[in-house]
């Protein structure tokens, strides 16, 4: 019995569980490989600050949604599971929205409808469908956090480059020295425009697949 307990404890961070956390960061990245949850990556990455807030919100919603659905997985009737999942996600998103409005109102204004759109962020639905419905709470939690973090780092990378090249600032502080502007350097106003987010993500995918040849699309 005690051995069994030990095994259970061991397995909290066993290789398999660590994989759940680390795979979505690279090989199964929700954005660049699974193509889930693109909408918000593109729309709110003009500034790094908004990207960070969004990434944290998604991590929170996703971790908890996965745990809740995983706990309920045996009681949810399959026919109405989509409505149940959406209700759980929507309740969590309402919480996040209220917290953002209370503590970081300016960022909440900037994110506008995209906080609400976390509900339909397909990463969350996708992971609930594919993972949380069939697995225990702890692995589901790790899977949720892992996928949300995989989403988060792409978000931050895109936000970093767009803010740096587009406005010469990071988190609102100027980082490109004035001397450079005097020599004739100009901010690339193009980076602030929405289409450049798509091209930035395209380049991230390019770099990632160049380094990891397994991911190349053969079709």
């Amino acid at each position: 019995m005690s051995e069994n307990m030990d095994n259970n404890k061991e397995s909290l961070f066993s290789l398999k569980n660590r994989k759940l956390l680390s795979n979505p960061l690279s090989k199964e990245n929700p954005i660049s490989v699974q193509v889930l949850g693109i909408c918000s990556v593109l729309a709110i990455t003009v500034q790094l600050r908004a990207s960070i807030v969004m990434a944290i919100s998604v991590i929170a919603v996703m971790g908890f949604a996965n745990v809740i659905i995983s706990l309920l997985r045996k009681t949810i009737p399959p026919r109405i599971r989509i409505i149940v999942q959406l209700t759980v996600i929507a309740s969590l998103v309402i919480l996040v929205d209220q917290i953002l409005k209370a503590y970081v109102y300016d960022v909440s204004r900037q994110l506008s409808v995209f906080v609400g759109l976390i509900i339909t962020n397909c990463i969350i639905m996708g992971r609930l469908e594919a993972f949380a419905l069939y697995n225990k709470p702890w692995p589901s939690f790790l899977d949720g956090i892992g996928n949300a973090a995989g989403y988060g780092w792409v978000l931050l990378t895109v936000g970093f480059f767009r803010e740096l090249l587009g406005s010469g600032t990071l988190m609102g502080y100027q980082v490109i020295p004035d001397a450079l502007y005097e020599v004739g350097y100009e901010n690339n106003g193009f980076m602030i425009l929405p289409p450049m987010a798509l091209i930035t993500v395209g380049v991230i995918i390019w770099v990632q697949r160049h380094r990891d040849r397994e991911l190349i699309d053969v079709s």
Partner: protein, 205 residues
Amino acid sequence: MEELASIFVRSIFIDNMVFAYFLGMCSYLAVSRTVNTSVGLGFAVIFVLGITVPINFLLENYVLGKGALSWLGSGFADVDLSFLTFIMFIAIIAAMVQLVEMIIEKFSPTLYSSLGIFLPLIAVNCAILGGSLFMQERNYANLAEATAFGLGSGVGWFLAIVGIAAIREKIRYSAVPAPLRGLGITFIITGLMGIAFMSFMGIEL
């Protein structure tokens, strides 16, 4: 009438769901491999947006908004249920998608089988919820305006997905660098299309 036409055209070109707001990107990228399927999905999106935006408009104005419940009696005049917006909108959308699916299955089995799995997918298409949330944010004056906005957004999304599907069908024969093939080049093409669509920006109708 002129106002309606202006909202309709604006929501197709200037405020295009895909190119200006990046909504509905997931299904846009996943389903755009061939023109046929994307036409099917595009029509389904037009249909669902055209139904859910007006319904959510009514919901917003007669149930959820601040003071919207005053038609029930003066005691309800300052009830503000707006914190329930997300959950109500998404419930309406999920229910509508389910309903549309059943209606189509009953009356047009051929259309049903050709749309297949795309219908339930629409419930989580962010363009649909986004349509309702933008409708709420922009305070359209009446039901007709909201409907025009819903339909226009749907048509804009339809144009975008059919366009990218056609390009993807052709680009299969080009020498794209291997790591960029598939997803990567699709992103970049969408970016270029977005830049093209930006030329509509600032046009006053």
